[in-house]
């Protein structure tokens, strides 16, 4: 591997050309929005979902974008590809560097992000968490989609209803460290033990919010537990993957599947009878509310104290509850009769 030194210049030229080409296109994008001063006038809100390319966050962030446009702020969405806390830190840090007015964040870990959030707050950025919270002491406000009790109860009620209140069930969750899902699973276990003694929870498996992994885990569940009567998947990726597996297997119609899903992902399976009923809040409303909450914080209308009231566009008035939490509302059940009315 030896070549005349003169040729090296060629490589140098190529590399330089590459970086200059990058510089060129970069200047087009970033050159305009330069000054630090101009950013303070408009409310700049950045959404940081758990990971990109997740239809749930695409929908919620679309709601956020709608709200930000309504009040004339600047919206952007950044985030990691994988749902891990260390990857999110970089994006929070970046917003601290830019002195963004507010971050709307779905946290991949309740504690690991706190230092980074603290940096952003020091830089003057308001931090709203939505969907998945951090410890209450590190963010400004949490916009809660539904109470954990409400979610756990609706899921248990649906599965009990669908399998006749007795038999083996299993849970297909997101990642093993997912804050939300773990809290719900704990509550579901308690609810099952207290109110549904004939239902036996035989397994909890983790599909990591990855379509293929969730699909494979569903297959494994059905093989391992031949008497399984129902699967609860408290995550949109999981329930869709499980329904996709079930719809083509011979257990279709024999094993009930329910949980949290989005109408667009689940429409096919509700219509072909694989899935009877599932629940969710409206993620678009959640993003919308989070964006208005960010605005209210930035404007100083609210500080996160219990009892603070503010208006959130078309959703009306909201009141901050304990632990600086705002509640969107009750979960909503989707089935054959109403799914046609929703598009998200």
């Amino acid at each position: 591997m030896k070549f005349p030194n003169g040729k090296m210049a060629g490589f140098a030229a190529v590399t330089l050309a590459c970086s200059l080409a990058l510089a060129g296109c970069g200047a087009g994008n970033g050159g305009g929005s330069g000054d630090e001063g101009s950013s303070s006038k408009k409310t700049a809100v950045t959404f940081i979902p758990k990971n990109l390319g997740n239809p749930y966050f695409d929908t919620s962030d679309k709601g956020g974008e709608k709200a930000v446009k309504e009040y004339g702020g600047t919206y952007s969405q950044v985030g990691p590809q994988e749902g891990s806390p260390d990857a999110q830190v970089q994006y929070i840090d970046t917003e601290a560097q830019k002195h963004t007015s507010a971050i709307v964040l779905s946290a991949n870990d309740p504690k690991a992000l706190c230092d980074s959030i603290g940096n952003a707050q020091k830089a003057g950025t308001k931090v709203v968490t939505f969907d998945a919270d951090t410890s209450p002491d590190c963010r400004d406000i949490f916009v809660n989609q539904a109470t954990a009790d409400g979610i756990a109860k609706v899921e248990v009620d649906m599965i009990a209803d669908q399998i006749g209140d007795s038999g083996e069930v299993a849970i297909l969750s997101a990642s093993a460290n997912a804050t939300n899902q773990n809290a719900w699973i704990d509550l579901m276990k308690k609810d099952l033990a207290a109110n549904h003694p004939k239902i036996k929870l035989v397994d909890v498996v983790y599909g990591n919010d990855d379509d293929q992994t969730s699909f494979d885990k569903t297959a494994a569940l059905l093989q391992k537990h031949p008497n399984l009567k129902g699967i609860i998947s408290p995550t949109t990726v999981g329930i869709a993957a499980a329904a996709r597996y079930l719809s083509t297997s011979n257990k279709k119609g024999k094993v009930a599947i329910t949980g949290l899903g989005t109408p667009n992902q689940m429409r096919k399976y509700v219509e072909d009878g694989t899935v009877k009923e599932f629940a969710l809040w409206n993620p678009e409303d959640l993003g919308y509310l989070a964006a208005y909450t960010a605005k209210a914080l930035v404007d100083g209308d609210i500080s996160g104290k219990e009892g603070d009231k503010y208006k959130a566009g078309k959703l009306g008035e909201f009141t901050v509850g304990s632990d600086a939490t705002v509640l969107l509302g009750d979960p909503f059940k989707f089935n054959k009769d109403n799914i046609g009315k929703f598009n998200f």
């Binding site: 590399t15 970069g26 870990d109």
Partner: protein, 364 residues
Amino acid sequence: MSTDLETTTPRSYASYTRPVWWRLLLSREAAVVAALVAVILWAIYFVPFFGNQLTMTFLLLDVAPIMLIALPMTLVIVTGEIDLSVASVVGLSSVLLGSLVDHGWAVPAAMLVALLAGLLCGLINGFLVAYVGLPSLAVTIGTLALFRGIAVGLLGTKAVTDFPQRWTSLAKAEIGGTGFPVIVVPFLVLALFFALLLQYSAFGRGVYDIGLNAEAAQFAGVSVARTKLVLFVMTSLVSAFAGIYFTLRFSSSRGDNATGLELQVIAAVLLGGVSIFGGRGKLPGVIAGVLLIGVLSSALRLQGTTVNVINIIIGVLLIASVMSTSVLAWFSDLTARRHNRGRNQSGPTTLAPAGVGNPKEVDR
């Protein structure tokens, strides 16, 4: 494989006729450094907020694990081997630190255990590659899964996020008000150590010899097996240290920490001008390569570019950089053949990419 002394190319001093600065300027490392400087200048002028001190601090904190592991990885790749298990060692060391602290251990004691685990991982890799003679690509793909499996198995679904404040703030602390995080100190010490080792010690020259021709190196008195064992041990040890830093920096010990980091490390090493075929590469180029990737992604993030686009750009850059070597080699081969048609049989035929190895290499 008998090599006829007559036909081996005599050592050419042609490339030494030009002055030192000229040779340095035209080296592949200089091209990477130039690209780095160009990207930094572009970012300072065109990317809002890039010039802030905070940006540099975060950038160095972010690239530190990659930078640390890239140092010994360079030496491993120069010998023509590869270590794919580094990210799993980071994960394992992170989990050990986390679960021991969770069980009430003092942080320094837990750190020591994490480092010892790193040492053990390195011994396993090194023994299988150097003394059993297995290709490092296969061995370290195996240990990648093995160490990651142990890490995830140890901590299960839990994540340890409670670490003493003193240690987590140390991982993020700045030296005075300079904006340089404390982690640059161990990095500089290690960089100096590895640079001196590679350039100025008999051991380091042996590393290059092995990469160029392991058999010849053996005959020249280089202990091929021992060198490789030492390199794999050092790589895992530094990875374990990076794992400790990673854990404290993010206050998070999880089984899946740093998944995929090995590819970022190897990408940076290759971008820095190290040949995947072994025998060629220098540390300054590698450090510039790590920083180039770090600066590019930091600047693009500040511009709001999504992660996919950033990955595409870095991927293209890497392919361009690796391809440039092959294209240039092809060109020089073509011109050489045109100049002296048929005089020389084509050069080395035993080139195998890193880690695929040649079992004969370990015959002793």
